[in-house]
């Protein structure tokens, strides 16, 4: 498969008056076109820091990231982060507005996305009138509006209850596959990572390095909810659980 992103041995240190923290020590992986990758690791290991570096919000202390052929990256933050004073449509246009790309054509594309994914009737309503699932979808469309090739999902569903998380995870997965996007998702939920991804990258605790990369193989890849029923699912789950080495301290 065609490689579109390389992460070359990046490290990241954070500084405070008291101390210097090494968040990432050596992170190295690559991403191919159309892949769905998850990054899991113990809490506080710097998973989100990787995404911040990938979308240019932070500079790595060492190493670099290479985005091949001018592919575009867009970020989807924790929780839906919809602005309450903007309508659904206005929220979805926010990125275009800021990047000065609010053309008629792009606006039509956003409206097309909203209509395709069941938000057509809610375009002119405010986010507080939407259900949790609709909000997530709206947040996803806001990211898709920029026509990115790679989506960065930062614990996108972590604020939801378990049942919604399953349903919305399925929803987001299907939309990303249908729009033929590449995705990198950070999550603390092992099951979520296995059921949605082609590969799962497991990090150690701080200072983090890549401990293992799992190629996820199911009998037949259907969707996250169905994948959970596959006989290989619990095998991967056990392996990753062991890798994470979580202890009750």
């Amino acid at each position: 498969m065609k490689k579109i992103l390389e992460v070359n041995h990046i490290s990241k240190n954070f500084h405070s008056l008291k101390e210097e923290t090494i968040a990432l020590e050596d992170i190295h992986f690559s991403v191919s076109l159309g892949e769905f990758i998850s990054i899991v690791g113990p809490s506080g290991c710097g998973k989100s820091t990787i995404l911040s570096i990938l979308c240019g919000l932070l500079k790595p202390s060492c190493g670099n990231t290479v985005l091949l052929n001018h592919y575009k990256i867009a970020y989807m933050p924790q929780e839906d982060s919809l602005l309450p004073f903007r309508t659904v449509l206005e929220n979805c246009l926010l990125g275009l507005e800021i990047e000065h790309q609010l053309t008629e054509e792009n606006k039509k594309y956003v409206i097309y996305l909203l209509e395709t994914y069941g938000l057509g009737d809610f375009m002119n309503q405010y986010p507080n009138q939407l259900s949790g699932g609709m909000k997530q979808r709206c947040a996803l469309i806001r990211t898709l509006a920029l026509k990115p090739d790679i989506l960065l999902l930062d614990e996108a569903m972590s604020s939801l209850d378990y049942q919604s998380r399953l349903l919305i995870g399925e929803d987001i997965y299907q939309i990303i596959k249908k729009e033929k996007k590449t995705a990198i998702m950070v999550t603390h939920d092992i099951g979520e990572a296995i059921s949605m991804s082609d590969r799962v990258i497991v990090l150690t605790k701080r200072p983090s390095v890549v401990k293992k990369i799992y190629e996820i193989k199911f009998e037949e890849k259907k969707g996250p909810i169905e994948n959970r029923k596959d006989k290989n699912f619990s095998f991967y789950f056990d392996q990753i659980w062991r890798d994470l080495d979580v202890k009750n301290e």
Partner: protein, 266 residues
């Protein structure tokens, strides 16, 4: 519409009754107050010369109106309040913006803001008159010193309570600081702004009346000062009643705006 249960109808009735009771008690208190005031001065239990009375206040108001004085003095005071209200808001907004934009600046000036905010600005009155003369400028300046610092501090604090995730989102779009301010910070703080305006309007009234008491030859503050000097307490109390009504009116409008905005947001 759905059919309501008996219990729900009863509940709604109770709520309505409560609302009516609140309103009637409010009116009752107001009328009782007026009635007692009038009565006590009529039977000379209160000296009408010192305490005036509702009927004397009405008479004085009509008198002032006939002599073309009423609207003139009200106009002057309102104009001054308007000027200092608008000035302190926009100046406060501008300064709060710069403090938000340059965190180092805000760290440097923080103790000075605190000192200026806590200083009882009325103490500056005599100085201001000497520096600026007995003119409208001094009144506006007096009022500015009273309302500006709380405006800055309130707005600045509001600007800092924006959620982290939303900030991250805008930054991921490569938003400039200017864009972040106008697309996120300012609109998220609409309610803070209105509550700041509410405080501001009261502060502006305080500042303007203070200024008028000290230097002016016109305006409601002047009427109060003049009335007390010639021992015409009818005039003093009339001015105070008008002043109270006016400031309540402005406050009421802003309060309505705030409630409507809150409703829209939820």
């Amino acid at each position: 519409m759905l059919k309501m249960s008996k219990e729900h109808i009863l509940f709604l009735k109770e709520k309505k009754k409560e609302k009516r009771m609140i309103h009637s008690f409010r009116i009752l208190i107001f009328l009782t107050f007026l009635f007692l005031w009038e009565l006590l001065t009529r039977i000379n239990l209160l000296n009408p010369f010192l305490f005036s009375s509702p009927s004397r206040i009405v008479k004085t108001t009509i008198n002032l109106f006939m002599k073309n004085q009423l609207l003139f003095h009200i106009g002057i005071t309102l104009w001054e309040v308007f000027l200092s209200f608008v000035l302190s808001f926009f100046l406060g907004l501008l300064i709060a913006y710069f403090l938000w934009r340059y965190p180092i600046l805000s760290k440097i000036v923080d103790p000075y803001l605190m000192i200026l905010n806590s200083l009882p600005k009325v103490a500056l009155g005599p100085l201001i008159i000497i520096w600026m003369g007995a003119r409208i400028h001094s009144i506006i300046f007096m009022s500015l010193t009273i309302s500006l610092f709380s405006t800055i501090i309130n707005l600045y604090e509001g600007f800092h309570t924006v959620h982290k995730n939303e900030l991250l989102l805008l930054k991921s779009f490569h938003a400039s600081t200017f864009q972040i301010f106008f697309k996120l910070i300012l609109p998220s703080n609409l309610l803070t702004i209105i509550s700041t305006l509410k405080i501001n309007i009261s502060m502006s009234f305080i500042g303007v009346i203070m200024g008028e008491l000290l230097v002016s030859k016109m305006g409601l503050g002047y009427l109060i000062m003049y009335g007390s000097q010639i021992f015409q307490l009818d005039l003093v109390l009339t001015s105070i009643v008008i002043l109270g009504t006016l400031s309540y009116l402005f406050f009421f409008v802003l309060d309505l705006l705030q409630k409507r905005m809150k409703k829209k947001r939820n």
